[in-house]
């Protein structure tokens, strides 16, 4: 290739690369700036604690934050034990080549790729109808648990893999049972992985909307039990902006709240992963 051509290409690449970086930064500023500009005036203690009124046009998001928290608790209560058990099994008790282990890993990969709306369909058919939980916080939380499971397991498993093999060998040489090794040596050493996975899972669950539309329902009053319908924060934003004319101002307030909440959650996960696991995580 003649020299002049190469120089021309190199210049073009430079322009494109800088152009892309500037466009991306610009979009980011436009998006976050718009949210902050319109959302900031809404944020107040009263907005966080009062109930929505007039279909959400007025009032705050108090009961909605409570519902979101309850959905999250149900989700964690269901997926942390199962996720931890599966991760221990995959990391400590199944050889990499075993058929059962491979099968589980494969299905977790597929599960991670299932669109959230399909989790919603499944949750509606299984938890709401077959198990008879109806539109409720319990149904929504359990549906999210299925969705969060793959992330939680992958991160926890990595926590176990980071434990040096010497621990296992020395404890076997001392005649510990595998149960005792797990309880006294491996679990304490793998706790960071579990916590990072859980926080990542919380982030995923709080951001989720589509899986909740027809599992946890739309009711915006204060939930009285886990079998009550409860509206999650993300669903509140969707409802206000799509179905309620004049709900935009409060939708901005709710959006900014959600973004700040996720910023804190994801930031905590990234910070802990870097500090404890000495690796960077990707929040995608």
């Amino acid at each position: 290739m003649p020299k002049r051509d190469v120089r021309w290409l190199s210049g073009l690449l430079g322009v494109l690369v800088w152009g892309a970086a500037i466009v991306i930064t610009g979009v980011f500023i436009a998006l976050v700036g718009d949210l902050a500009w319109h959302g900031m005036p809404r944020l107040s203690w009263a907005f966080m604690t009062t109930a929505p009124s007039n279909a959400g046009r007025d009032g705050g998001i108090g009961p909605i934050l409570v519902s979101t928290l309850l959905i999250l608790l149900v989700c964690l209560a269901a997926c942390v034990p199962i996720g931890l058990g599966t991760a221990v099994f995959l990391a400590e008790f199944s050889p990499a080549a075993s058929v059962f282990g491979r099968l589980i890993r494969r299905s977790l990969d597929v599960l991670a790729g299932v669109p959230s709306i399909v989790f919603g369909l499944f949750g509606n058919a299984f938890f709401c109808q077959t198990l008879g939980l109806g539109f409720s916080i319990a149904s929504g939380g359990l549906t999210l648990a299925c969705m969060v499971l793959p992330i939680l397991i992958r991160s926890t498993e990595e926590g176990f893999r980071a434990v040096p093999n010497d621990y296992r060998l020395s404890s076997a040489a001392l005649g510990f049972t595998r149960g005792a090794t797990l309880r006294h040596l491996l679990l304490p050493a793998a706790v960071p992985g579990l916590i990072v996975g859980t926080v990542l899972g919380i982030g995923r669950a709080v951001a989720e909307t589509a899986a909740l539309i027809f599992t946890s329902g739309y009711a915006d009053r204060m939930p009285e039990s886990l079998l009550d319908s409860g509206r999650a924060l993300s669903l509140h934003i969707f409802d206000l902006s799509m179905n309620v004319a004049g709900g935009d101002a409060n939708a901005y307030g709710a959006s900014l709240t959600l973004v700040l909440l996720l910023l804190a959650i994801n930031g905590a996960a990234a910070w802990m992963a870097e500090r404890w696991l000495h690796r960077r995580i990707m929040i995608t």
Binding site: L31, T86, D109, P115, G120, F122, A125
Partner: protein, 285 residues
């Protein structure tokens, strides 16, 4: 091997139970989708989804084709725009950005990755749709969907590319510089070949996200069931169709919505299968 204590046998079975439960989730999802799809197949047959007389559930017309086309167009548009932008963004991080800018720029991309899809959709609805409406009404359109989805999946490919560039051996980069290659030559000869499999995984990941996304798309696409003739026409995607109609659907109508869910999963599994066939190694979607 010596005999296992009873407590260990119990432990192993409990752990196997957990693993089986995790695995069962996927089986249950598949089983319920198929089971709920059966009624409409029994009453109307498979052909009903491919007929061209539209989606009118009250008249037993369940043509899914316009929505499948909508899904594919929005996905293809977003992937086509986001992939080059994401690659350029990763190249910026590694080879162009001044040292002081690298970390803030990465944080910015990570922040974008953490914004939930409903907020992207909301921003699109408030800012983008009115802007497009000024150019050509109605504003809520295929174009709006592509733009919002592009911004949403951009961090996925940008971060994946960033990570796979970081894994390129320093020695090959140093060797390329030593040979006197400029940045174009460096990327073509050293960086892209070494990072190929990571980039490919990123591509599959973003395509999967774009195909399955509901909220960002439902809020800006206009949701009219039709074959779009231009970028400014409203479209409805498969995911939006499920979210919009599930709350009041009964009997065959409900069953047809489960069929579109099944179609979505099949699309994504096919995507991963094709990807694995091309790369000849497991792809983690």
């Amino acid at each position: 091997m010596c005999r296992r204590p009873a407590s260990d046998t119990l432990l192993v079975w409990v752990l196997r139970g957990c693993a089986a439960a995790a695995c069962a989730t996927l089986v249950l999802i598949g089983a319920f989708l198929v089971y709920e799809t059966l009624p409409v197949l029994r009453h109307e047959g498979l052909g009903v989804f491919f007929r061209s007389d539209g989606w009118v559930p009250s008249e037993h017309l369940y043509g899914l084709m316009p929505m499948l086309v909508g899904t594919l167009l929005v996905m293809a548009g977003a992937v086509l725009v986001a992939t080059p932008l994401g690659l350029l963004s990763a190249v910026f991080c590694h080879f162009y950005a001044p040292r002081r800018l690298v970390t803030p720029y990465r944080r910015l991309i990570e922040l974008l990755a953490g914004i939930p899809s409903v907020v992207y959709g909301f921003w699109g609805l408030m800012v983008l749709v009115p802007a497009i409406n000024n150019i050509r009404p109605p504003g809520a359109s295929l174009l709006a969907g592509i733009v919002v989805l592009t911004i949403m999946i951009l961090p996925t490919i940008a971060l994946m590319a960033d990570a796979s560039f970081a894994a390129v051996p320093r020695a090959s980069i140093a060797a390329a510089y030593a040979l006197g290659l400029d940045k174009v030559g460096l990327l073509r000869a050293a960086v892209f070949p070494a990072a190929k499999s990571g980039l490919f995984t990123g591509l599959i990941l973003e395509t999967g996200r774009a195909t399955g996304e509901t909220m960002a798309v439902i809020m800006v696409c206009g949701n009219i069931v039709q074959m779009p003739k231009s970028l400014f026409d409203p479209v409805r995607t498969l995911t939006a169709n499920i979210a919009l109609e599930m709350s009041f659907a009964m009997n065959d109508h409900r069953s047809a919505l489960f069929a579109s869910g099944l179609l979505l999963i099949i699309l994504i599994i096919a995507l991963v299968a094709v990807a694995e066939w091309i790369s000849r190694e497991p792809v983690h979607a």
